[in-house]
């Protein structure tokens, strides 16, 4: 019988701990497929900081480092600077990357660290039970914005891809989503491009992936995907914000 679908070699054969309907599984798979296609699993070090994906060290087949909250880009910098011939990626959530780790993110980007950052934006702190993230949309209800995020009290969300696209050291800043087959294919192409950039020493590449958190949004997986499509994408438009290889704004 012909095999039509199987686990990527770069993913370990273990059960994932993610909630039903969570899109982390899809993104893990895309990263692993890219490692398989490029044949780089044995030359890659992944860095996963605190957040829902903190235990991704058990899932990716490459060597893995668990980093303190927000510090993955600094840890990745240490790995890459001492091993420039290895592939290094971080896999970070929005609270991690855009709140507690903003300094590490912005400075790794502006230095043009030759690493890949996979940024999961689901507008909420998932692991701690659904608090407001720096990406939580105005009006969005979370545990710590029980009446909806009021920008007068809690400030405005940060658009990470747009912000980082202003930095000279950034080779690629692209926002993708995993709500449909077409978007998932786009997302994989972006991740592949980010790893290719690293191979060609182009600098810092970030792929922001709009994702869902059905558990903490209080929605079914299908309704969560609907919300991603109807509420998140209009606020966080998909697209390439910087591509220095294709002729970006630097």
């Amino acid at each position: 019988m012909a095999v039509v679908f199987e686990r990527p070699k770069s993913l370990c054969d273990v059960p994932l701990h993610y909630c039903p309907g969570c899109t982390h599984g899809i993104v893990h798979r895309l990263v692993a497929e890219v490692m398989d296609e490029m044949g780089i699993e044995g030359d890659t070090v992944g860095v996963c900081p605190v957040g829902c994906s903190v235990m991704a060290y058990n899932y990716f087949g490459c060597d893995m480092i668990e980093a303190p909250h927000g510090r993955a880009p600094a840890v990745a910098t240490g790995v890459k600077r001492s091993n420039p011939d290895k592939f290094v990626f971080t896999y970070q959530g929005d609270g991690d990357l855009a709140a507690i780790g903003t300094a590490e993110t912005v400075h790794a980007a502006t230095r043009g660290e030759n690493i890949v950052v996979i940024f999961i934006n689901n507008t909420i702190y998932g692991m701690t039970g659904g608090q407001m993230a720096p990406t939580t949309r105005p009006g969005q209800v979370t545990q710590t914005t029980p009446f909806g995020r009021n920008p007068e009290l809690a400030g405005y969300p940060v658009r990470v891809s747009e912000m980082l696209s202003t930095l000279t050291g950034v080779a690629l800043a692209q926002r993708v989503a995993v709500d449909s087959v077409a978007h998932i294919r786009e997302a994989k192409k972006a991740i592949r491009k980010a790893f290719e950039n690293q191979k060609e020493k182009k600098g810092f590449s970030i792929v922001e992936v709009l994702s869902t958190c059905p558990t903490n949004w209080g929605l079914t997986p299908t309704d969560a995907l609907k919300r991603l499509r109807e509420e998140m994408i209009p606020y966080y438009p998909l697209g390439v914000y910087k591509d220095s290889v294709a002729g970006g704004n630097d």
Binding site: D43, I65, P68, A74, A76, R81, S82, K86
Partner: protein, 347 residues
């Protein structure tokens, strides 16, 4: 050679491949020295955006098995404490330099030893220790950096050089010893790409099962027990017949040695005990040094922190007095001598 520069040169000779730092007085010459030489010598010098980033860059480099170091001064070490706890919890070797200045808060920029408790007892959250060396001269800074890299690799744990602004800024002649490059095999744990030839390596300090976390901590403490037996080091100066034993570490010990010499000239049987390792604290060495003493005096550039370890080591069997200056004020030999005289030592 200036103390801070000697630390940097010694680190490079000891095989340090990566230095990550952030500017802070009074240790900045160390980073400046590294910036001139490190990249030319095939190593990595990188000025980080923060102390926090610097220690996490060390975490990343150390995870791949290379020798890595960061340096700072007191307020900067506080910022690094999170990363140091992760490094300890992940069993990674590295070297951390603290050229202490006065605190708390922003404090001052003059020499201090007020980070003794921080370095030896409470550097960050969780059950763990660092190896902590306390040099008293520029030569000792050189020797201890070389030793710190070796022991950090041997025990897979962070090691600290607890210096102070006086030593960092001091110029003294130094000789760099021939270094016997011991090879530490890190292939069983380093995360530097498995090449398809082994299981993937995981550098991690997260254990959600309490029994599993307990096991890792207990194993680490078994290692600490070995270190307490084998790695203590101290200088005993005129202790054989000493009636008043003066204890001091680091630059303060140089002041104390002058005071002890003057006391001896006056006929007071004074001696000096100087721990070179402050964790592990040289308990047996102190017991030996104090065997004929009726009184102990701890002299520190703080309000009195090492004095706790002295009392514990002696089980409070002898009276322990304290003299110290803090905030960046360096005690003088005359002040220490006056304290020794006031204790009324036997002639």
């Amino acid at each position: 050679m200036k103390g801070n520069e000697a630390l940097a040169e010694a680190a490079m000779r000891a095989g340090c491949k990566c230095f990550f730092g952030y500017p802070i007085t009074p240790q900045t010459e160390l980073a400046a020295y590294m910036a001139k030489r490190m990249n030319k010598n095939g190593g990595v010098f990188l000025q980080a955006e923060s102390e926090i980033a610097a220690i996490n860059m060390v975490l990343g480099a150390a995870s791949t098995g290379v020798r890595a170091m960061t340096s700072s001064s007191s307020p900067g070490i506080s910022l690094k404490s999170e990363g140091i706890s992760y490094i300890a919890g992940s069993d990674l070797p590295c070297v951390i330099i603290n050229v202490e200045r006065g605190g708390p808060g922003l404090g001052g920029i003059q020499p201090s030893q007020a980070d003794y408790w921080q370095a030896t007892k409470g550097l960050a959250h969780g059950d763990f220790h660092l190896l902590v060396y306390a040099p008293a001269s520029v030569q000792e800074m050189v020797d201890m950096v070389i030793k710190a890299f070796d022991k950090a690799d041997t025990y897979r744990m962070p090691a600290m050089i607890l210096a102070d602004g006086l030593l960092g800024q001091m110029m003294e002649p130094v000789t760099f010893p021939e270094i016997e490059q011991k090879t530490h095999d890190k292939s069983s744990w380093a995360a530097n790409g498995h090449k398809g030839q082994r299981e993937h390596h995981i550098i991690n300090s997260l254990y959600l099962t309490p029994e599993e976390l307990e096991r890792t901590v207990v194993e680490r403490f078994a290692k600490y027990d070995t270190i307490k037996q084998t790695e203590t080091d101290a200088e005993l100066y005129m202790t054989e017949d000493a009636d008043i034993l003066v204890c001091a570490f680091g630059a303060t010990a140089r002041v104390v040695k002058s005071a002890v010499n003057e006391a001896r000239e006056m006929g007071i049987k004074a001696g000096m005990f100087r721990p070179k390792t402050v964790w592990p604290f040289p308990v047996n060495e102190l017991q030996e040094a104090s065997k004929n003493a009726s009184q102990i005096l701890s002299v520190e550039m703080s309000m009195g922190q090492m004095i706790d370890d002295i009392k514990l080591a002696l089980n409070c069997s002898k009276p322990v007095e304290f003299f110290g200056r803090t905030g960046g004020v360096i005690p003088t030999p005359a002040e220490v001598l006056a304290k020794i005289k006031a204790m009324g030592g036997n002639k």
